[in-house]
C-alpha cells in the first residue's frame, strides 16, 4: 500500500507549480523591483540600491499608513470580539426569533466589502441618511468623512459591523461545545451568572477567541475595499492603510519600485503580527 501511495505524489505537483509561479517567483521578483526606480510601464529603469527602503523611513505618509493599518487591524479586532461575543451570548439562548437574528447578523459577511462600503456611503454623504437623522434630531449636518479622526473611526466601525457575524458564529460554536453540566454544577455551588461567565464560559471559549482574533486581525490589517469605497485614503493621505497606499503608489503615482517596497513592509508586518498572536496564544494555552 505504502509503495502505491508513493505514486500519488505527482497529484500535488500542479499545486506546487502554481505556488512556484504565482507566489514564490513574484515574491523574489518583488524584492528585485524594490531595488529599482521603475515607474511601472517604461522599459528603462535603474537599480537604485536601498533608496526605496530608506524612503520608507522618511516618508510621513508611510508612517501615517502604518499607524492606520495597525489601528484598523487592532481596532476592528477588539470591537469585533466584544460585539461578536455579546451577539453570540444573546443568540445562544432559546427564544423565538433567534434563528432569524443569527441569519441576519451573518448576512453582511457574505456581501462584497467594497459594495458594503458604497452602501454606507449613502448614509454618510453630506446629503445622506445620517444627516437626515441629525437634522431630525435638531442638530446640524456633519461632514462625516472630512475629519480624519472621524473617518478612521467610521472605517473601523463599518468593518466591525460587517464582519461581527463571523466572530459571532465562531463564538456560538464555542458556546455550544461547553457542556451545560459545567454551568449547572457551578450554579449549584452558588456562583452568580457573572462569575459563571468569567470563570467557566470565557476560559472554555479560549480556542474560539484565538481563531476569531487571528482571522479578524489578518482581515483588518489587509483592509482595502472599505477604505477605497469610503475615503479613497483621504482627506489627503490621512486614512490610507499600507494596502491602499501601495495601490496609489503604483497606479496613481507610477512608482512601481516604491510600491513593491511597501509590499515588502506589509508582508513583514502581517507575518510579524500573525506569528506574535500565535505565540501569545500558545503561551497562554498551557495555563488552562
Amino acid at each position: 500500500m505504502q509503495r502505491l501511495y508513493r505514486k500519488t505524489n505527482i497529484m500535488y505537483l500542479p499545486v506546487l507549480l502554481l505556488f512556484a509561479v504565482f507566489v514564490v517567483y513574484p515574491f523574489f521578483d518583488g524584492i528585485r523591483i524594490a531595488f529599482t526606480n521603475w515607474n511601472g510601464f517604461s522599459r528603462q529603469y535603474d537599480y537604485i540600491g536601498l533608496a526605496n527602503f530608506g524612503r520608507l523611513f522618511s516618508d510621513p505618509n508611510i508612517r501615517m499608513a502604518l499607524l492606520n493599518t495597525l489601528l484598523y487591524g487592532f481596532g476592528s479586532t477588539l470591537f469585533q470580539q466584544i460585539l461578536g461575543l455579546a451577539y453570540a451570548l444573546l443568540l445562544d439562548q432559546r427564544f423565538p426569533g433567534r434563528t432569524a437574528g443569527r441569519t441576519i447578523a451573518l448576512l453582511p459577511v457574505f456581501i462584497s466589502a467594497v459594495i458594503m462600503g458604497y452602501m454606507w456611503y449613502f448614509l454618510l454623504q453630506y446629503d445622506g441618511a445620517l444627516n437626515d437623522l441629525a437634522l431630525l434630531l435638531g442638530g446640524g449636518k456633519v461632514l462625516w468623512l472630512s475629519d480624519p479622526g472621524l473617518a478612521k473611526a467610521l472605517i473601523i466601525s463599518i468593518n466591525t459591523l460587517q464582519y461581527v457575524g463571523y466572530s459571532m458564529i465562531i463564538y456560538l460554536a464555542g458556546l455550544q461545545s461547553i457542556p451545560a453540566s459545567y454551568l449547572e454544577a457551578a450554579r449549584l455551588d452558588g456562583a452568580g451568572s457573572w462569575k459563571c461567565f468569567y470563570r467557566i464560559t470565557l476560559p472554555l471559549l479560549y480556542p474560539a477567541i484565538v481563531s476569531s482574533v487571528t482571522l479578524n486581525l489578518i482581515g483588518g490589517l489587509k483592509l482595502f475595499d472599505i477604505i477605497r469605497a469610503l475615503t479613497g485614503g483621504g482627506p489627503g493621505y490621512t486614512t490610507h492603510s499600507l494596502t491602499t497606499l501601495l495601490y496609489t503608489s503604483y497606479f496613481g503615482n507610477q512608482n512601481a519600485g516604491y510600491a513593491a517596497t511597501i509590499g515588502i513592509l506589509l508582508f513583514c508586518m502581517i507575518l510579524l503580527v500573525t506569528v506574535l498572536t500565535q505565540w501569545t496564544a500558545r503561551a497562554r494555552e498551557v495555563q488552562f
Binding site: Y5, R6, T8, N9, M11, Y12, P14, V15, L16, L18, F19, F22, V23, P26, F27, D29, G30, I33, Y87, L90, L91, F95, P96, G97, R98, A100, G101, T103, A105, L106, L107, P108, V109, F110, I111, S112, A113, I115, M116, M119, W120, F122, A129, D132, L133, L161, I170, A173, A208, S211, I218, L221, F224, D225, A229, L246, Y247, A259, G263, I270
Partner: protein, 284 residues
C-alpha cells in the same frame, strides 16, 4: 434558561418579559445589519429630484433607476463575467486541492510533511503584498484583463485553505477503504477518483462556499488585473459608478441592490452550509 419544563403559570409572565428583552436586542442587531441595505434600497427607488428623507420610502414607486443601471452599468455583462470567473476558479480549486490533499494525507513521508508545511506557509503570505510583482508577471505573459489570468491568481490564493480542509478530511477516512478497493483490483488513481472523491462531498461544499464567496466578492485582484471595461466584474462595475463625478447616485444604488441579490438569495437558502463553511475554514 430558568426552569426548563416547569413553566408554571407563575413563571410565565416573567419569561415573557425576558423574551421581550431578548427579542428587542435581536431586533436592534438586525436593524444595524440591514440599515445600509435598507437605505440603499430606498435611494434606488427615488429620483434625483426627490429630496425627502432617506429613511422614508417614496410615494410613487419607480423602477427607472434599475433600468438605467442595467443600461449604463451593463450589469448583465458584469454578472456574466463574475459568474464565469467564479465558476472556473472554484472548479479548479476543488479539483487541484482535493488531488493534492490525497497524497499529503495518506503518504506520510518526510518529503510530504515538508510539502504540507510549505503549502500552509503560503497561507501566511498576504496576496496584497505581492500585487506589484504579480501584476508585472501577468503583464509579461499577456494575462492582464484575461479570464485565465485572474482565474489562475484566484485559484492560487484559495488553494492553501482548501488543501488544508481536504487533508484533514481525508485523514479521518479509514485506510481500509483504500485497501479494500485495492484488493478489488483498482489502481491507486481509480481509488482516489471512484472511492475517495465521492466521500469528500461535505468538505467540498465548504470549499465551494469559501472559495466561491471570496472570488465572487473580490475587488482587489479584479481592480489590478481586470483593466478592460469588457471584462469588468460586478464589484468593478459598482465602483465605476462612484469613480465618475456627476454620477446619479440613485442609479448607482439600484446597481448595488442588484449586485447583492444573487449572493443574498443563495445565502438565505443555503444558510446552514454557509455557517459550516465558515466554521470549517475558521477553526483549524
Amino acid at each position: 434558561m430558568d426552569g426548563q419544563g416547569q413553566g408554571g403559570p407563575v413563571l410565565r409572565p416573567r419569561r415573557l418579559a425576558a423574551n421581550l428583552w431578548k427579542l428587542g436586542l435581536t431586533a436592534l442587531i438586525a436593524a444595524v445589519a440591514l440599515m445600509p441595505i435598507y437605505i440603499t434600497f430606498i435611494v434606488s427607488l427615488k429620483g434625483q429630484t426627490d429630496l425627502s428623507s432617506h429613511w422614508v420610502p417614496p410615494k410613487v414607486l419607480s423602477l427607472a433607476n434599475y433600468l438605467w443601471a442595467i443600461e449604463i452599468g451593463r450589469i448583465f455583462s458584469a454578472f456574466l463575467n463574475t459568474t464565469v470567473i467564479t465558476g472556473f476558479s472554484v472548479a479548479a480549486v476543488v479539483l487541484l486541492s482535493s488531488m493534492a490533499a490525497y497524497p499529503l494525507a495518506r503518504n506520510a513521508t518526510r518529503l510530504n510533511a515538508a510539502v504540507s508545511t510549505f503549502i500552509l506557509s503560503i497561507l501566511m503570505v498576504p496576496a496584497l503584498s505581492l500585487l506589484v510583482p504579480l501584476y508585472v508577471l501577468l503583464l509579461r505573459v499577456h494575462g492582464v484583463s484575461t479570464y485565465w489570468g485572474i482565474v489562475l491568481v484566484h485559484v492560487t490564493f484559495n488553494l492553501p485553505v482548501s488543501v488544508f480542509l481536504y487533508m484533514n478530511f481525508i485523514r479521518a477516512l479509514p485506510r481500509d477503504l483504500d485497501e479494500a478497493a485495492l484488493i478489488d483490483g483498482c489502481s491507486i488513481y481509480t481509488i482516489f477518483s471512484r472511492i475517495i472523491l465521492p466521500l469528500l462531498r461535505p468538505v467540498t461544499v465548504s470549499v465551494i462556499i469559501f472559495a466561491g464567496v471570496a472570488v465572487w466578492n473580490d475587488y482587489q485582484f479584479s481592480l489590478y488585473f481586470l483593466q478592460k471595461p469588457a471584462i469588468r466584474v460586478i464589484t468593478l462595475m459598482i465602483s465605476s459608478f462612484f469613480a465618475v463625478s456627476g454620477t446619479d447616485y440613485h442609479i448607482a444604488a439600484a446597481a448595488a441592490v442588484m449586485a447583492i441579490i444573487p449572493i443574498t438569495v443563495i445565502y438565505v437558502f443555503l444558510q446552514r452550509r454557509f455557517v459550516k463553511g465558515i466554521l470549517d475554514s475558521a477553526i483549524k
